[in-house]
Amino acid sequence: MITKRIIPCLDVRDGRVVKGVNFQGLSDVSSPVDLADYYSRVGADELVFYDITASSDGRKLFTDILRETASKVFIPLTVGGGINSLDDFDRVLKCGADKVSVNSGAIRNPSLVKEAALRYGSQCVVISADVKRVDGVFRVFAKGGRENTGLEAVKWISDCVNNGAGEVVLNSIDTDGVKKGFDLEMLQAVCDAVNVPVIASGGAGCIDDFVKLFKTIPKVDAGLAASIFHFGEVKIPDLKRELAANGIGMRLVEEM
């Protein structure tokens, strides 16, 4: 049976991983290529590279890094950040990305998801939504979670899926960084509304949070996190072993 996926997310700015990292066994902990290779070896099922660069020099550096990573790391790579047009899709896909994640770009340009899905296939188009409760309603936020778009999140995500998005990354702003667990209520609402893979993001603080995620919402396909993996607070081999011990399908690898 298909396994649940564990996905580390690497925020990359000017060619380096941000959010600081603290690792044993890595000579350069802020090198995205080295970190990606490390995660692949310890059993990450997929990687998300998020480009948070503002300058065009930084963007060039990002694609260079992506190309180098894709030449060494043989697990699926999803790339997001600054994806506003089909040209942006083209740019990262040519450098070895398998999937492209759109966030603000899809809010600004509602036809982007549809056009990208037609050209590259739904399997390639990931809708990434930053969602926060406002007066009890799930709202989509833009610009890295700073701006309330007023869009109702579940409907907006469903619309994106109907337009061809093949996967959803749901990032709860309410639980992000709090480390007290994923936003199960929000995830359930989205899982009830769409029939494509849903990746949970925001709030994981410990192994139990992942166990609770997959036990409570069997329709969730993957758990994504950044700093708890980078800081070694949760080690991927330990996490996957514990999930497997709890009856959750996992791909277990022997560390090399």
Binding site: D45, F74, P76, Y120
Partner: protein, 203 residues
């Protein structure tokens, strides 16, 4: 040397890198002369069957690929590239395949329960069927990465592995010098690289 057939479809960068990672010289090409000189061929593919099939026809390489495969040159189809090896495909219509392996490509919806997600995206285990030379270095149950909504049917004689997704889906086939993997070996970590290593060692 392995030639990766470039007809404008698929993540060729990763496929080339994965062959290089197992020590095999690999080139991306749309030149029949290069295909002829190559020791083996890889037919990649993602997206919709109709578009990819059309792109392959228009590439001018189709007859050359067929001649080489029928002449015994090893050919590995990956994902949609595997689906094109069969006789017919039923994705949004009916399309003729390359007919190198008997069988038809049909929606996985005909095999799996309605509540399962389509496409199947993720890592799933291989259940072995007929013996495959590709699996020399891996064991039954090893996980590989799938992204697909269609799969090959009616090809039991050539099926070397299936995967369980609410029903059994064809994961790989092998007929003489023609091989196909529905999953992506180039995205399946060390298990995938081991499969590619076995492929380049066969001939």
């Amino acid at each position: 040397m392995t030639a990766i057939i470039d007809y404008g479809v698929g993540n060729l960068f990763s496929i080339r890198s994965s062959f290089r990672a197992v020590g095999e010289d690999a080139v991306v090409t749309s030149d029949c002369n290069v295909l002829e000189k190559a020791d083996r061929l890889v037919l990649p593919g993602v997206g919709a069957f109709r578009d990819a099939r059309k792109a392959l026809s228009e590439s001018g390489m189709e007859n050359c690929i067929l001649d080489l495969a029928k002449g015994g040159k090893p050919l590995l189809g990956i994902c949609l590239g595997m689906q094109m090896l069969f006789e017919r495909d039923y994705e949004d219509g009916v399309y003729e395949g390359l007919s190198l392996i008997p069988g038809e490509v049909r929606s996985i919806a005909e095999t799996i329960p309605a509540d399962l997600k389509i496409p199947q995206i993720g890592w799933n285990g291989l259940l072995f069927r007929n013996k495959s030379r590709l699996f020399k270095y891996i064991k039954e149950g090893d996980h590989v990465y799938f992204v697909h909504s269609y799969h090959a049917t009616g090809c039991e004689d050539w099926t070397t592995a299936v995967t369980e997704y609410g029903g059994l889906l064809t994961a790989s086939v092998e007929r003489d010098n023609v091989f196909g993997t529905q999953f992506h070996p180039e995205k399946s970590a060390t298990v995938g690289l081991s499969i590619l290593k076995a492929f380049v060692e066969i001939f």
